[in-house]
């Protein structure tokens, strides 16, 4: 215990004494975050109207069909839950709520919900929908049964930034976890530091636990700093103001760090020198960077690539981080992601133990 602790403290001291190391672990993520976030890459989708069809009868279908025939509106029919998230992500501009009792006989109230920042586009939706309603009413015996009212809500949507930041934070956890450990351990290995430790009575577990512990602290600091930069520079908000979201973020940060640190240990244990370690590390990290939903939802990928992407170790971390920071989803709902990460940890740990060599 004391041995692991002193190794952890020494490792941290060395980390912070290399003045570049913290800088580089923050520099790339911040550049990506600010570059892509400000540019608003991904926000140029056409204006989109969400529809919650409460009635699901012939009348509501007729209404939806009439709206969808208007070429300049893209619509999506979905549930309240789904739209809550999509509005947060800025993927839906406003939501039209068709009540349960919608028909052409009684007076019914249809509601168009939107946030302040989407007022302009929503007013054009409003005009379109009103004209559709008028047409339907005019063809009907009971005139003027439908009323459209609008409901303006406070801004909660964060657009692409809110989607991007947790993705980048997860990516940074992977990079620091794998690359940090690989470069340190491989240099210890080639210089003979590990050999010298082998000549002392300490066990290799002491040393590895010390390494792991120090890097857990370093990556946790990195995660918090990156989110703070996201809040200050990109104006994102975390978990809709819920403190629990921060707890979730820390849980995922720790689990993700453990996972990628173990992958890093396994790579450095199996490689005799950096000529092996660097390509292996790149081979492992590169696909995850693009297939695990860091920069964009991987729905856009071809089916098979999407399936592969969803099953890579980074994916549950990205999902967990994003759910926590963007939606403030509670921990229980994220248990599947937690489970998958723990499963990966076990798998990588076993592979690592089997392939580890000190020289």
């Amino acid at each position: 215990m004391k041995i692991s602790l002193i190794i952890a403290i020494a490792t941290m001291k060395m980390y912070f004494r290399r003045s570049q190391s913290l800088f580089w672990s923050l520099f790339f993520p911040v550049v990506l975050m600010i570059g892509l976030g400000f540019y608003g890459f991904g926000e140029f989708s056409p204006s989109k109207l969400g529809i919650i069809d409460g009635a699901k009868n012939q009348y509501s279908k007729e209404l939806i069909k009439a709206i969808s025939e208007k070429k300049y509106i893209e619509i999506e029919i979905n549930t309240r839950e789904k739209f809550d998230k999509k509005v947060l992500e800025g993927k839906i501009d406003s939501v039209l709520v068709i009540p349960d009792n919608y028909n052409h006989n009684n007076e019914v109230k249809i509601i168009l919900e939107f946030e302040e920042s989407k007022e302009i586009i929503s007013h054009s939706f409003e005009d379109t929908i009103n004209s559709v309603i008028e047409t339907i009413d005019s063809e009907n015996v009971n005139n003027n049964t439908q009323k459209l009212s609008s409901k303006i809500q406070n801004n909660s949507n964060q657009g692409y930034k809110g989607f991007l930041v947790p993705g980048i934070v997860s990516l940074a956890i992977m990079q620091s976890g794998i690359l940090g450990v690989v470069f340190t351990l491989i240099s210890y290995k080639t210089q003979g530091v590990l050999r010298r430790l082998q000549a002392t009575p300490i066990s290799s577990a002491h040393f590895l636990i010390g390494q792991l512990a120090s890097r857990l602290v370093i990556i946790t600091i990195q995660t918090i700093l990156l989110f703070i930069i996201g809040i200050l520079v990109l104006n994102i908000n975390i978990g809709q103001g819920s403190i629990l979201a921060w707890v979730n973020i820390l849980i995922f940060s720790l689990l993700g760090s453990i996972l990628f640190l173990i992958i890093g240990l396994a790579i450095s244990g199996a490689s005799p020198n950096e000529d092996y370690a660097a390509p292996i590390a790149n081979l492992i990290t590169f696909p995850m960077m693009f297939l695990s939903g860091v920069f964009f939802e991987n729905d856009v990928l071809p089916y098979w690539i999407k399936i592969i992407g969803q099953n890579l170790p980074l994916s549950p971390l990205v999902t967990g981080m994003r759910e926590s920071s963007l939606y403030g989803t509670n921990t229980l709902e994220l248990l599947p992601e937690v489970g998958v990460i723990i499963l990966w940890i076990i798998v990588c740990f076993i592979i690592g133990i089997k392939t580890f060599k000190w020289e």
Binding site: I6, I7, A10, K13, G192, R195, R196, A199, T200, P201
Partner: protein, 254 residues
């Protein structure tokens, strides 16, 4: 000098795949001795001492240190020996004091890092990092680290290879001081004058076998008695003496 045996090596064999690096070595070392393993590069010196240190495992044969079987109770042996490896390094961004203190924790001993560093002549370097040290300073740090646990036996694997004459002589003085504290020292070298200067007994080893073991004096006498004549007339001084006379014996580093 007592003659209590502290190291015993019997029929030691080490194969790397098909290659036999150590081929049936036997020797024993007495407490308080400086015992030299002499031999050309590739003779099997490092392999032999690293088996004794518990870093490599032998293919067959036995090694005992202070009565403890090295391959069976490796951890116990590691606790009573000090090790200076031929190829090793320390954490580059730790200060020398931090390195010594860290190894103190590894051996669970309370130590005064500064006095240990002072003992090897690094008192001016407490706060500097490992990386910028000169070769001789790195070797002396390595010895300081090996002394942290007050070892009964100290292993020095080519401690003067690559050092300039001043640093080599300084290292010899240091080794003599450590011996005077009663520690047993196993020293490997391929410098004959070093063995002659320091070792009580030497084993000459080549291609994994010990050719002979005796005191340096006896080995020289034996050779002369066999009718050997040196190629040169014996001179009163050699070029190294000239070099040291001109450049002084003081250490040149910093």
């Amino acid at each position: 000098m007592t003659s209590k045996e502290i190291i015993r090596v019997e029929k030691l064999i080490k194969k790397y795949d098909d290659f036999i690096a150590v081929n049936g070595i036997d020797f024993s070392v007495n407490e308080g001795e400086i015992f030299g393993l002499l031999g050309p590069n590739g003779a099997g010196k490092t392999t032999t001492v690293e088996i004794l240190e518990g870093i490599r495992t032998q293919t067959s044969g036995e090694a005992l240190i202070n009565g403890i079987n090295v391959s069976k109770e490796t951890k116990k042996v590691k606790e009573i020996i000090g090790v200076q490896l031929q190829q090793a390094a320390f954490f580059d961004k730790l200060t020398l004091v931090e390195i010594i203190e860290m190894f103190g924790v590894f051996y669970s001993v309370k130590i005064d890092a500064k006095s240990i560093l002072g003992k090897v002549g690094l008192q001016d370097k407490f706060g500097s990092f490992y990386k910028p040290l000169s070769g001789g300073q790195k070797q002396r740090l390595s010895i300081a680290v090996a002394l942290v646990n007050e070892p009964k036996v100290l292993f020095l694997d080519e401690p003067t290879t690559g050092l300039d004459p001043q640093a080599r002589r300084n290292m010899w003085e240091l080794i003599k001081n450590i011996r005077s504290e009663g520690k047993t020292i196993i020293l490997t070298t391929h410098y004959m004058e070093e063995a002659e200067e320091l070792c009580d007994r030497v084993a000459i080893i080549d291609t994994g076998k010990i050719i002979t073991i005796d005191t340096p004096n006896n080995l020289i006498l034996e050779l002369l008695n066999s009718g050997f004549k040196g190629e040169h007339k014996i001179k009163e001084a050699n070029l190294e003496d000239v070099f040291l006379n001109l450049t002084g014996k003081n250490l040149r580093e910093n």
